[in-house]
Symmetry: C2
Subunit: 335 residues, 2 copies
DNA sequence: GAAAATTTTGCAACCGGTTGCAAGGATATC
DNA sequence: GATATCCTTGCAACCGGTTGCAAAATTTTC
């Protein structure tokens, strides 16, 4: 159906190789030939078939974008930045939604069938077994928003969740809170357990402060709200909570409001991510920002480096988080 | 690098065609042959190269998913449903982010280069010129969340925005509001102008009621908030506003709160979409739900029909909206 | 058990490109 | 102007599969 190289060659009265070369950067073609070919191609509306050429070149420019985070609103921005970032470099994102039944092996097989040049795994909860599958298939992979210690010799980009947890704890301690709570996502999610680890370590240094913790059943508004309602209704709640994710923190905020508590006067909340809704004036959540643009850019850069130099030495790029002061924490105490 | 069909053939001691047939449903192969081939393939870890086969079969099972809605949180769910819906049918979404410089022609060319079997355009604001480009390239296309009258003979799935606007107006009239406002997205967005058209037509039948309208600069929280702040500060605002999108309505809600107005006592808001945040208890927006699951399913179905029967007659599938009662509208008046 | 009908298999050409190699042309050197 | 050098071009093989066709193998029929 589509116009092929052969037709262009016939039209221009040249060999097929000549046409191929005219469309290949750096190939040996005279200007005259190039113009002749381009003219014929334009008349016919030809554009080369990327899939056919991949057969000989071994490059498809297809990058698998694998994720299981299609529920957390934070990730819409992540997808936006990844797709546009990849496109800018001439790469095409092949999206894989890891929800439900599809196991990792299944996905890897699929990605191999489509000869992706590389894979970016966008997830904080992806099983570590993934890394091995890709390595075995010899597919370059970058883990974004992932955990360093699971894959010390994988390419990896994100924040240090342990450090972020510690940062959160120091922030809350600095505000003079005496009873500090940690409200995590699912207890078995690595992001939650890492954040907890850093948080708890920092709290351990301050035995004079009261420290308690709880978990939500998943990373969602409803789970955060319901966990916080449980804490409030049980009584003896902390003066402030670090919610290990914005969407949980916002759920918690709504629970506090439902129980008639004033924030930040009666109780405080600190989130993590700085997703768009945190900045909405009717939410106004004080939170720790993940530098999402830096993370996505770095992931794409790392992908490109791997494509260019196949024996690229594995690398982890971790970025520090920053506090975004809004309205859900009391002011710092004066020294 | 990867295992090829030839290697499997040698290993199994059969011809290449035999291997190919063993992996093709409905091909003529004996059970004995199939087992022999499968054994060899398993030993070698072979899986067929989808791109190479596409060369002869003419099918890639790649579906372009084209969108420029990477800002509206509503669409994360849309992407979730589309990607999983396509995957379930063995199709692979190739994502195209239409932001910025990339013109439609550029995108169409790219999609053709990758021999996509079809394209789903996910956008309410995509230029109508798109349809032509795909038709010319003979690529099946489905427009989701699009406008019927722009492409009466294109495959199209969504709601009837004019009808939705009218439904909104009737709803507000039914609540006994005497001064009713319309707060749109950008004035030139087709979704906004269609919704306005339906809304205004319904209002025209009730000259006894006061009707006013305004627009936001884009479909975003900030734009909705700032537009509503403008209306409130100018004075003479309506008793209730239909915000032509949830994200705008939520922005408007926050503006009202900032100006000390109680919702729904002092002023009302009705949204459209029923995105996740509308249901958050600390937002609690009464809104008109777009049946997103039906829309995405229908779009995928329509795509599949087109792939199966190439001369599939164009079809528009429009779904009705339903009111989701929450807390931002006063109760219906009793007859 | 032989002939006819049916199924299975392999050959070879093809899908739409790329590329090493050698021949042909153009340019530079003397 | 002849020769050496470099650039351009076409040929043919190849990338990893599929498929029409005919030969081979199997099954059915009588």
């Amino acid at each position: 159906m589509a116009v092929t190289l052969k037709e262009v060659a016939e039209r221009a009265g040249v060999s097929r190789s000549a046409v191929s070369r005219a469309f290949t950067d750096g190939a040996s073609v005279s200007d005259k030939m190039r113009h002749k070919v381009e003219a014929a191609a334009d008349e016919l509306g030809y554009s080369p078939n990327a899939l056919a050429s991949s057969l000989t070149t071994g490059r498809t420019k297809l990058i698998g974008l694998v994720s299981n985070n299609f529920k957390n609103p934070f990730f819409l921005r992540v997808f936006d930045l990844f797709t546009s970032g990849l496109q800018e470099r001439g790469l095409r994102p092949l999206l894989v939604n890891l929800t439900g039944d599809q196991g990792p092996d299944e996905s890897v097989r699929m990605l191999r069938q489509y000869s992706v040049d590389g894979v970016i795994v966008v997830s904080s909860t992806v099983p570590a077994s993934f890394a091995g599958s890709f390595e075995k298939a010899n597919i370059p992979v970058v883990f974004a928003f992932a955990r360093y210690k699971d894959n010390p010799n994988a390419n990896l980009v994100g924040i240090d969740n342990v450090a972020a947890g510690a940062f959160a704890a120091r922030t809350l301690i600095g505000r003079g809170y005496k009873h500090i709570g940690f409200l995590g996502g699912p207890e078995n999610a690595v992001s939650t357990s890492d954040r907890f680890q850093g948080f708890a370590a920092e709290m351990a240094a301050r035995p004079d402060l009261k420290f308690s913790h709880a978990y939500s059943s998943e990373y969602s508004f409803a789970a955060g709200r319901s966990a916080m309602l449980g804490l409030l209704d049980r009584g003896g709640q902390a003066e402030v909570y670090f919610g290990a994710d914005d969407v949980i923190s916002i759920g918690a905020l709504s629970a506090m409001e439902s129980r008639g508590l004033k924030v930040p006067e009666d109780i405080g909340v600190l989130g993590l991510n700085d997703m768009e809704m945190a900045g909405w004036e009717n939410i106004n959540l004080t939170t720790i920002r993940q530098p999402i643009r830096q993370i996505t850019n770095a992931a794409v850069d790392l992908m490109v480096s791997q494509l260019e130099t196949p024996d690229h030495y594995p690398e982890a790029r971790l970025f520090p988080c920053t506090l975004i002061e809004r309205g859900t924490l009391r002011n710092p105490v004066q020294d």
